[in-house]
């Protein structure tokens, strides 16, 4: 229990400074993104885009799995919901020639709309599974994720909206580094703020010992469901970014294999560490791409074999992940030493 009471203050900066930095970053994001996109090979830009999306996915999953300790294996299902809501709406606009000039509409309105519907799904998943723990929760969430995927696979049209299900949906590419990283910043800041707030302590309490937390008066039901809802929202946003960034979405890309990948990112980064998970998302996206370029004798498949071996070795050698439960700048000393009375 030491981590709970002695968790060092995450106040790196006073509140006003932190807000200022965030605004500054967002303000400079547009020119930085434009510059990067124009200087770099478009193929590399796609990788950076994917990294951003994976950061959103891993961070949102971290809230559910790492911070609140609810082992969810159906995260890709939420992403699928967001992806298809956004993609279908964008296509509708495009089909009626309304898209040009209104891309911002899609990125500001449709993405969060996808997120909200995904959040509703989070509610649907979170409430029935309240009683389940550990393995049972894992497979229940896996089941939900698959059901979502299968429903999308079999849906061809919803009214005037073309979904195309298993055929795959082609969506005009309207996302770019700016929009993607804008949402990355929003997601990370939200999750960070949440984790380091009073509510965050409640999430952690549920993770550490649910029964003790309930005994202490924490509304475990509320917090478990809240974790799912918020996690699902950002997963939906992540899915929407995928739809608008990669031209083609297919229900097959939102199956439990994909959910596994996100779980691996969370575990690798150290469940509970926001920065750790971001790091893991970057590494796990960038590494396979780099391995792809080692194309000697058509051994691209070796990169996936290497990846799986890496995973197993990681579990054998350092299962707590890269950063364990610390954030990037905490040192072991800070975690071990008891804090003085009057915790900052």
């Amino acid at each position: 229990m030491t981590e709970l009471s002695d968790r060092p203050s995450s106040r790196v900066l006073p509140a006003w400074a932190a807000n200022f930095v965030i605004v500054l970053v967002i303000g400079t994001l547009w020119p930085v993104a434009r510059l990067t996109a124009s200087q770099l090979n478009p193929y590399v830009v796609q990788v950076i885009l994917l990294i951003g999306i994976n950061i959103v996915m891993a961070t949102s999953l971290n809230l559910i799995n790492g911070i609140t300790g609810q082992f969810s294996l159906g995260h890709a299902g939420f992403a699928a919901v967001g992806a298809y809501v956004t993609g279908v709406l964008v296509n509708y606009l495009a089909a009626h020639d309304q898209l040009a000039g209104h891309e911002w509409l899609a990125m500001i309105v449709f993405l969060p709309l996808g997120g909200i519907i995904a959040a509703a799904m989070g509610l649907v998943v979170g409430i029935p599974t309240l009683r389940l723990t550990g393995d049972y929760l894992a497979i229940a969430t896996l089941g939900f994720g698959e059901i979502i995927r299968i429903v999308i696979t079999n849906t061809n049209r919803i009214g005037p909206l073309e979904v195309r299900g298993s055929q795959g949906l082609r969506v005009p590419v309207i996302s770019n580094l700016f929009w993607t990283y804008l949402w990355v910043i929003i997601c990370v800041v939200c999750v960070w703020r949440l984790v380091h707030s009073i509510k965050g302590k409640a999430f952690l309490a549920v993770r550490e010992d649910e029964i003790a937390a309930a005994a202490m008066g924490v509304n475990t039901t509320f917090y478990k469901v809240l974790a799912f809802v918020i996690g699902a929202f950002f997963a939906g946003v992540g899915g929407g970014l995928q739809a608008t960034g990669f031209f083609l979405i297919d229900p097959k890309g939102f199956g439990f294999m994909q959910s596994f990948l996100y779980v691996v990112m969370v575990v690798l980064g150290g469940s509970g560490s926001v920065t750790g998970v971001i790091l893991a998302a970057i590494v796990l996206t960038w590494l396979p791409e780099q391995l792809r370029s080692l194309k000697s004798l058509h051994v691209e498949d070796l990169r996936m074999v290497t990846f799986s071996l890496l995973l197993i070795v990681m579990m054998l050698v350092r299962p707590e992940g890269l950063l364990g439960r610390r954030e990037l700048w905490w040192t072991r000393r800070r975690l071990a030493a008891p804090s003085p009375a009057g915790n900052p």
Partner: protein, 379 residues
């Protein structure tokens, strides 16, 4: 603090690696990209197409190459997956900097790759995708996408005519709902066939389906005279044996998606029909020459996918020659002006919709070989 520094260092490294611009063009070569399904569910498509392309490439380079330079083809495998197709075409167009792309066989993947080529203004020539949307979508012709084969509005109507000429009035149909090709062809067939007969049953299946007995049993209950399966050869390979198990012993027929050495070997397929782009029995001199060269190099008889891969490479080379320079837009324009090219699969002229009008053949499987049953000329 140490962690922060390490992270910054790693980030710097990452950016440094990423800034590496696309490989400086080797000005001694003309780079062309090829994407196809070399592995996966429809692997024989990509393999056959690639073999044909290889033969043409060899011929062209032996004859001196193009514009004084050797041609190099960068081949990428999309593993029969549309999402992979998007990735590899991205790589070919942006990372490798090719001046033209050849591919794909399956319409769904051509649609995916075509979107990327349209976005990045790179000409793409599909050897055998037949779904109309590949070149013309929502009434608009795609500037950069072309094909050298016929389209499914033609194929479906011919299949319908064939069925009524066989005297079948009551036919069942099984469609793959995952593939644009299958759905499009089914629709065209239905439109034509409904004029003279009726569809006794319409069943569907997903691309991953391995067990078709449910659908086949239901079809059997309707007692059709024949069953139309506008799907790919890998599905046919499972459907036909299972039909026998269910007791559905009627003729089956389909479209060019059946074209594969695996279909020829299938005992349960003998006696069945499919429409296709080409028959090796074709008597034209270009075809005979191609068959001879192909057999010499690969020790087997070529099929439609192979001949179309061969022709696609030659048409692309011809366009580059006519364009006079290794420039994407010039090549695009030259492709659009392709007229009466003497292909091994027939004369190739690319019309205003970026399609070609070619004859269609109906093949019948006899003795584990595809024999020419009938030829229909383009309208």
């Amino acid at each position: 603090m140490r962690n922060v520094l390490m992270t910054l260092l790693a980030a710097a490294l990452f950016i440094a690696v990423g800034c590496k611009q696309q490989s400086s063009e080797n000005s001694n070569e003309i780079l062309i990209g090829e994407y196809g399904s070399l592995t996966g569910q429809t692997a024989t498509f990509g393999q056959a197409s690639h073999d044909g392309l290889e033969l043409a490439l060899e011929q062209l380079n032996n004859a001196g190459g193009l514009l004084g330079k050797k041609i190099r083809v960068i081949t990428e495998d999309d593993a029969s997956d549309a999402t992979q197709a998007v990735n590899v075409v991205q790589k070919l167009v942006n990372s490798d900097g090719v001046v033209g792309v050849i591919g794909e066989v399956a319409s769904k993947r051509s649609l995916a790759g075509g979107g990327i080529c349209e976005q990045y203004h790179c000409p793409m020539l599909s050897p055998s995708s037949t779904n109309p949307d590949v070149t013309v979508e929502n009434g608009k012709v795609k500037k950069y996408v072309f094909r050298i084969c016929f389209i499914d509005t033609f194929q479906g109507s011919i299949d319908g005519k064939f069925a009524s000429q066989q005297g079948w009035k009551n036919v069942a149909m099984m469609t793959n709902v995952d593939e644009d090709y299958s759905k499009g062809l089914a629709q065209s067939f239905k439109q034509e066939f409904s004029k003279s007969g009726k569809l006794a049953a319409e069943e569907s299946y997903g691309g991953d389906t391995q067990d078709f007995k449910a659908q086949l049993s239901r079809i059997k209950q309707q007692s059709p005279e024949a069953v139309y399966v506008p799907g790919y050869y890998n599905e046919v390979g499972l459907i036909l044996p299972q039909a026998k198990q269910v007791g559905l012993n009627v003729p089956f027929f389909g479209g060019d998606g059946w074209d594969s050495p695996l279909t020829l070997k299938l005992p349960d397929a003998q006696g069945d029909f499919y429409s296709d782009h080409y028959s090796p029995d074709d008597k034209s001199p270009e075809s005979q020459e191609f068959v001879r060269l192909f057999q010499a190099k690969f020790h087997r008889t070529p099929d439609a996918m192979a001949v179309l891969g061969y022709d696609a490479m030659r048409v692309m080379a011809d366009a580059i020659r006519r364009a006079g320079k290794a420039d994407r837009d010039a090549i695009t324009e030259a492709l659009a002006r392709t007229k009466d090219f003497p292909g091994a699969s027939g004369k190739i002229t690319i019309d205003k919709d970026h399609n070609a009008h070619k004859p269609i053949v109906i093949l019948q499987l006899k003795n584990f070989d595809a024999t020419l049953f009938k030829t229909f000329q383009p309208e």
